[in-house]
């Protein structure tokens, strides 16, 4: 009788031990699994972010390579305004639907890119915020002008870090073949220079040309603004009834990786209207740094 009860007692201890052991194993396994899942999730997130950024960049670069007329076609064919800067296109799928969708390439990761194209730089009234742009030293900003005949004026103000920059303006007016050219040079307010350019007036933070009234004359076509001595920040506003047409295109691409609730990245770029580089400003330009002209 005593042997039997002893056997019964021993069997219960083993069970407890096994249960305890299994509990420990379960806890360890759960912990490892949790860590693995977290790691995979982090890797997936990083990978998705990079994919989305790359896809959005690809969408932007695709349209940056298009000519102005192709961009105009894309705008007017996809719900954008026929002119002006008011309405960009509806989202355009990149690549086009006739091409292999991104999601079917190589690793079956669901990727979609939508591109919107619009125009920028329009000024429709003197109360519109100034068109602001930076011009690197010895580089040019070319403004498309145009409009009906009659006098037009704009407010051009600029500033720079030290040393003070100056602006050199080339205004082309008229229609082919009767183009005319006028040039203007301006130093910042309170800055004297041996270049003999005209001075400007200060509005507290900026130097402004002709007391905030630069006359574009009649039938202006383009205004090339060259920044000398340093880079400049310029601000342009229209005066009176003159409207400044658009100055370039904005291309915004949004990429989504992993479906509706996936990772989203947006890349936005601007592309100005085409212009010729600075050496085309000169009638005679001698490139040599060793031989005098």
């Amino acid at each position: 009788m005593q042997k039997t009860s002893a056997k019964l007692t021993n069997k219960g201890q083993a069970l407890i031990f096994v249960v305890l052991l299994m509990s420990i194993a379960l806890a360890v396994g759960t912990s490892i699994s949790s860590r693995t899942i977290s790691s995979i999730r982090r890797t997936t997130n990083i990978d998705s972010a990079e994919r989305a950024r790359a896809a959005a960049t690809a969408g932007v670069e695709f349209y940056l390579a298009k000519s102005g007329s192709e961009l105009e076609t894309a705008i007017t064919s996809n719900g954008g305004s026929a002119s002006g800067c008011s309405n960009p296109t509806n989202p355009i799928a990149y690549p086009s639907l006739s091409s292999e969708p991104l999601s079917q390439r190589t690793d079956n990761v669901d990727t979609a890119v939508q591109v919107k194209i619009g125009r920028y730089g329009c000024l429709n009234s003197p109360s519109d915020p100034a068109f602001t742009s930076s011009i690197a030293k010895d580089n040019v900003l070319e403004l498309k002008l145009g409009g009906p005949n009659g006098s037009k004026s704009v407010d051009i103000c600029f500033n720079s870090a030290s040393p003070a920059s100056s602006l050199y303006l080339t205004l082309i007016s008229g229609t082919s073949p009767n183009y005319s050219i006028k040039k203007y040079g301006y130093n910042q307010a309170g800055v004297s220079s041996s270049n003999n350019f005209q001075s400007t007036s200060s509005n507290g933070t900026d130097s402004c040309i002709n007391s905030n009234n630069f006359d574009l004359g009649s039938n202006p076509q383009i205004l090339r603004i060259l920044s000398l001595y340093n880079s400049s920040t310029i601000k342009i506003k229209t005066l009176g009834n003159y409207n400044l047409p658009f100055q370039g295109y904005t291309i915004s691409a949004t990429a989504t990786v992993g479906g509706g609730n996936g990772t989203v990245k947006t890349v936005i770029a601007t592309k100005s209207l085409p212009y010729l580089p600075v050496p085309f400003n000169f009638g005679v330009y001698s490139q040599s740094a060793s031989d005098a002209l």
């Binding site: 030293k137 003999n196 100005s272 600075v278 000169f282 005679v284 330009y285």
Partner: protein, 633 residues
């Protein structure tokens, strides 16, 4: 208690006292720093108190208590500040103001009974009222030392030190100071080791500051101390001793190089926020640029056809012109050696020819004007054979003493006109005869012999960048030949993969009537222009040429915008050349010369800038846009 413990307790106490001293120094420091200025050149190297070279300035500040926190200088209304760390002076009684035996906190070294160590008030010390003096009549080392009041330090610490010293009839091996290290040798003993020695001073000198940076290169470092003294016979004074944990002695260095009058104000703050008052003020007049921009060269015939009164304008915008120094010299046959000078009788070529310069009048003649017109008396160039180059040159000084000399001007020499456009050179502009440009003349160096219609000049401007043939072609690659391998008469981008000659057989019929054409022609070789041609006013061709561009002597009219990284040669004929468009070239050769006296009134080459290329050209070279990445979200 072990030996180590016995050593550690006082060391700990010492560190506590040091930090307490630090707090006390800040609290007790009521004396502002002193800032001194040294400069190179030490005085104006030009005339009339002008500098003709940039001035290098060093501001050095001293504060014997809490240490220098910042040196500040206001240069032409721009405030600059340089801050310093760990400048607390760790020497007690650094200016020798507290009397002791003879000076408090300073030990004596080499006190042999005949050497006199004293606190001195007669030497006009740079800091406060007293200095420490050593009068030695024996050879050997005699010094003041801070060994008993050493500065606590730590291993591998970078430290700086300095002291002011003055000597009188000091012979022997000079006055200097040394920095010693105290270190634990591991056996409870504190030993000393020479770390560094300063430069030395001898003879009779005024007060000067000597400095020394050093590194505590012992792993058992306890502290450092200074021994300042003389090794020899004579007198030496010391003042303003300093040891700090700053990496450098407080000083600021900068250069003033731009031309003009510059006001400089400088002062310092110490770590107790004492401001040095009053601020120091000084000014510098700098003019490194000689008179230049010799323009409006105007010969006026006087009497016979080879006698002229010649005037020219010159400019100096900084110190102004020294109008008494205007001179000229000329040559009636440049090929002859020693031919530059003047005839003693300027209107008589039979007189003696003298090598040298002749004075001339100026208007205005007031010294210091920024622009004047220099005028010669009547000068006879002896004959009208203008094929033999007859030249004249000018020179004048500015008030600062810089001498400016013009280029050589050729009498009846050739010149060019640039209409409706600008002219720019990445080197200098130096035409033989005065040339004209409607708008702006610009150059990386000087500009001579160019008149701008608006008087707009960009002189000494930075070099502009440009693209070469390969860069253009890589952007706008095309292998399309122009129709019939002639000049294009349709819009588009074309390439000729060899030399190309514009002649009667390569000019399409009716080219001048083709309207609204926008073309780019790449020439992968030389371009030779052997025939006149013209384009319709609404059309344009941009020539991008890998080799040279040359214009035949018989050509008088060319149309286009020409780009080459080689030479553009206008030829050497005696007929005028008109180019409608523009030219970008590595070098330009203007070899034409008109017959007889025509050069005096007529340009040999006319470049008429055509604005249509800024509009027409975009149609073909239209990917010249700017792109900016606005954001990534």
């Amino acid at each position: 208690m072990t030996k180590k413990t016995a050593f550690i307790i006082p060391l700990t106490l010492l560190i506590f006292l040091f930090s307490a001293n630090l707090r006390c120094s800040l609290a007790n420091d009521i004396t502002a720093p002193t800032t001194t200025l040294t400069q190179t050149p030490t005085s104006p190297d030009g005339l009339n108190s002008w500098y003709i070279s940039p001035v290098n300035i060093t501001l050095t500040a001293d504060d014997l208590d809490s240490g220098v926190k910042s040196i500040n200088w206001l240069l032409d209304a721009y405030l600059n500040t340089q801050t310093f760390n760990n400048t607390l002076n760790q020497i007690l009684n650094p200016s020798f103001e507290d009397m002791g035996s003879p000076i408090n906190k300073w030990d004596l070294v080499g006190n042999d009974g005949s050497t006199v160590f004293s606190q001195d008030s007669t030497s006009t010390p740079p800091l406060d009222a007293y200095s420490a003096k050593i009068y030695s009549v024996t050879t050997g080392w005699h010094a003041f030392s801070t060994e008993s009041n050493y500065s606590v330090t730590s291993t591998y610490q970078n430290m700086t030190s300095s002291i002011w010293v003055k000597t009188d009839t000091l012979t022997g091996n000079n006055a200097y100071y040394s920095i010693y290290l105290l270190y634990d040798n591991g056996n409870g003993q504190v030993l000393k080791q020479l770390l560094a020695t300063s430069s030395s001073v001898s003879g009779t000198t005024a007060w000067q500051k000597i400095s020394l940076n050093f590194v505590v290169n012992n792993t058992q470092a306890v502290g450092v101390y200074m021994e300042a003294g003389l090794n020899g016979v004579g007198n030496a004074w010391f003042d303003g001793a300093s040891i700090s944990s700053s990496l450098t002695n407080p000083s600021a260095n900068f250069a003033i190089s731009s031309n003009g009058i510059h006001d400089l104000s400088y002062y310092s703050f110490d770590n107790a926020d004492n401001e040095e008052l009053p601020h120091h003020n000084t000014s510098f007049k700098i003019d490194t640029k000689a008179p230049s921009r010799f323009t409006n060269f105007t010969p006026t015939q006087y009497g016979n056809s080879h006698t002229f009164i010649i005037s020219i304008n010159v400019t100096d915008t900084t110190s102004g012109l020294n109008t008494q120094t205007a001179e000229f010299q000329y040559s009636v046959d440049e090929d002859e050696e020693g031919s530059w000078g003047y005839y003693t009788n300027l209107t008589g070529c039979n007189s003696t020819f003298v090598q040298g310069w002749k004075s001339m009048s100026t208007n205005p003649s007031t010294n210091g004007v920024t622009q004047t017109t220099m005028t010669t008396p009547a000068v006879d160039f002896c004959d009208s054979n203008w094929a033999d180059p007859k030249k004249i040159r000018f020179r004048i000084k500015d008030v600062a003493g810089n001498l400016g000399q013009s280029a050589d001007f050729t009498m009846n020499g050739v010149w060019i006109r640039v209409t409706n456009g600008d002219i720019f050179s990445n080197k200098a502009i130096s035409f033989q005869s005065p040339s004209t440009v409607t708008y702006t003349a610009g150059a990386h160096e000087s500009i001579s012999n160019v008149t701008s219609g608006n008087s707009w000049f960009l002189e000494n401007y930075s070099i502009l960048s440009h693209e070469n043939y390969n860069e253009w072609y890589s952007k706008y690659t095309t292998t399309t030949a122009p129709p019939n391998n002639k000049l294009p008469n349709i819009s588009g981008k074309f390439r000729i993969n060899s030399d190309f000659t514009i002649a009667s057989n390569t000019i399409p019929n009716g080219l001048s009537n083709v309207q609204n054409m926008s073309a780019v022609l790449f020439v992968n070789g030389d371009l030779n222009i052997n025939s006149n041609y013209s384009l319709h006013a609404t059309s344009g061709i941009i020539f991008i040429v890998k080799g040279e561009i040359s214009v035949a002597n018989n050509v008088t009219s060319v149309d286009g915008f020409f780009i080459t990284g080689e030479e553009f040669d206008t030829g050497s004929g005696n007929s005028q050349l008109t180019l409608n468009g523009g030219v970008q070239a590595d070098t330009l050769v203007f070899g034409r010369s008109l017959n007889g006296n025509q050069n005096s009134s007529t340009p040999a080459e006319i470049f008429t800038y055509q604005p249509k290329y800024l509009i027409v050209g975009k149609n073909q070279l239209g990917s010249g846009y700017s792109v900016s990445l606005v954001s990534i979200e």
